[in-house]
Symmetry: C2
Subunit: 272 residues, 2 copies
């Protein structure tokens, strides 16, 4: 990482060699990434989508079982129907493609049943394993898509009203939506959003206590950013943290949505 | 994706331009990835680790809250202690670095408490959100680390005996381990493992039924691979699927481990 950037030929057969030594350009690209919510009218070709999905399959997966699936939404009608489940965020109808990544033990269970196996994946551990597989696959897909120049936005709303998504996408037992991506060619180039210093998230050997001192050390710069000061002003709170705890992700909402999420897991067969 | 590979200068200030058009070399690299379980004696420098972690922070995260943390294990003593929680897989003591990625609402809750907020994240939705953040961050880190030439192996065992890991790493309330990575410079170059055809995992508009026909279509090639035929022979089963359902991930084991996982979530404050 410390080597100076150098001009080098980036040709497939040279790639392995180069990647073994320094890889600064790729890292620099990653640093620049940010969520994209505005898309151009340029279509996302199905060949490209297939290539990205197929390459993303190479990511790590439990026992090589690939406990995930992805539902591709291109039709305007389905986007319109999906939008309310995502609180009508405009990216759902505005993006050429919407991808719903699902934890999926249904296909693997069906495979085993047709091959004289005795599958028993109607439990919470199996949900955790499949959700993990689906999220790793999703992030890998995002990394590849962004590397190809596409822009995307991750919708956390997927697990807020999962029952509606399950119904619309006709997800069978042992399939649970865990992530949604809106995808297209960027029509905006926003600045990357701020992140905490590494001291906030890295712990050596054991988890280090979070104290008033470490909070000031790790959050002061974030709280002092002009855009966050403005964010506080608009939301009429005293502190930045209050926007999240008292307005956006309140205890009451989290409790209510938790109940719905657990019900959906039960409905899909992942909880007794 | 269809363009021919071309020689181009891969210089940082040219990068954005190039990435907007075609990005074949990066994609080719990704195709080659596979898990690495044998590491050379070359150390993983802390500067490199920090740079990779810091760059991985740029990935998507809920409300820009970064609901994750990572515990870095370098000491032999801690690796020895962690190993049994991972069923003594040799990578844990054999790798220069072990990283435990955690869903973390503890730090954000402490921040809010010190800033006059009213956090309420002791519920399952909050676990789901934080686990998602942690897994996306983990996969992003893996992509960056592999692009830098490092090798790694994802240990699914993290959620099998989480209580032991929680105790050893001294994880406080609202912190839950969700993924472990062993990391080092590769001392082996195994072939990538097989993957299902895209037809197995891609669904258009709605989830398409899984039938005897689609299973044959999607699993026949996998079942016919010499290494999988050998895998069946060694395990003395009739089918490949039976290895997973009847030997490796049995219903009985999944049930038992589910109970432990839910208990750990309750202990960490994510379930009532």
């Amino acid at each position: 990482m410390k080597s100076e950037p150098t001009v080098f030929l980036f040709f497939p057969f040279l790639l392995r060699l180069k990647l073994e030594s320094t890889n600064l350009p790729i890292l620099i690209h990653y640093t620049m990434r940010t969520s994209i919510r505005q898309y151009s009218s340029r279509p996302v070709e199905d060949d490209l989508l297939n290539e990205l999905l197929a390459q993303a399959e190479q990511t790590q997966t439990m026992g090589n079982l690939q406990l995930y699936s992805v539902v591709v939404t291109r039709s305007d009608e389905m986007k319109q129907k999906l939008a309310p489940a995502h609180f009508n965020q405009p990216m759902v109808t505005g993006a050429p493609v919407v991808l719903t990544f699902c934890a999926d033990y249904h296909r693997t269970t069906a495979w085993a049943q047709h091959r004289k196996g005795h599958p028993g994946y109607d439990n919470f551990l199996s949900y955790q394993n499949a959700a993990t597989d689906a999220l790793l696959f999703c992030q890998r897909f995002c990394d590849l898509a962004e590397a190809a120049g596409l822009g995307l936005c991750f919708l956390g709303t997927t697990v807020y009203q999962p029952a509606a998504i399950i119904r619309l996408l006709q997800l069978p037992q042992l399939v649970m939506p865990v992530a949604t991506i809106t995808l297209g060619w960027p029509a905006e180039h926003p600045n990357p959003s701020d992140r905490l210093p590494l001291s906030a998230i890295r712990h050596d050997e054991t988890y280090q206590p979070v104290t008033a001192e470490t909070i000031d050390r790790d959050y002061a710069a974030k709280e002092a950013l002009p855009e966050n000061l403005e964010f506080v002003r608009i939301n009429q709170t005293e502190t930045l943290a209050q926007i999240f705890t008292d307005i956006r992700y309140t205890a009451k909402d989290c409790q209510t949505l938790s109940t719905g999420l657990l019900e959906a897991l039960r409905m899909q067969g992942f909880l007794d």
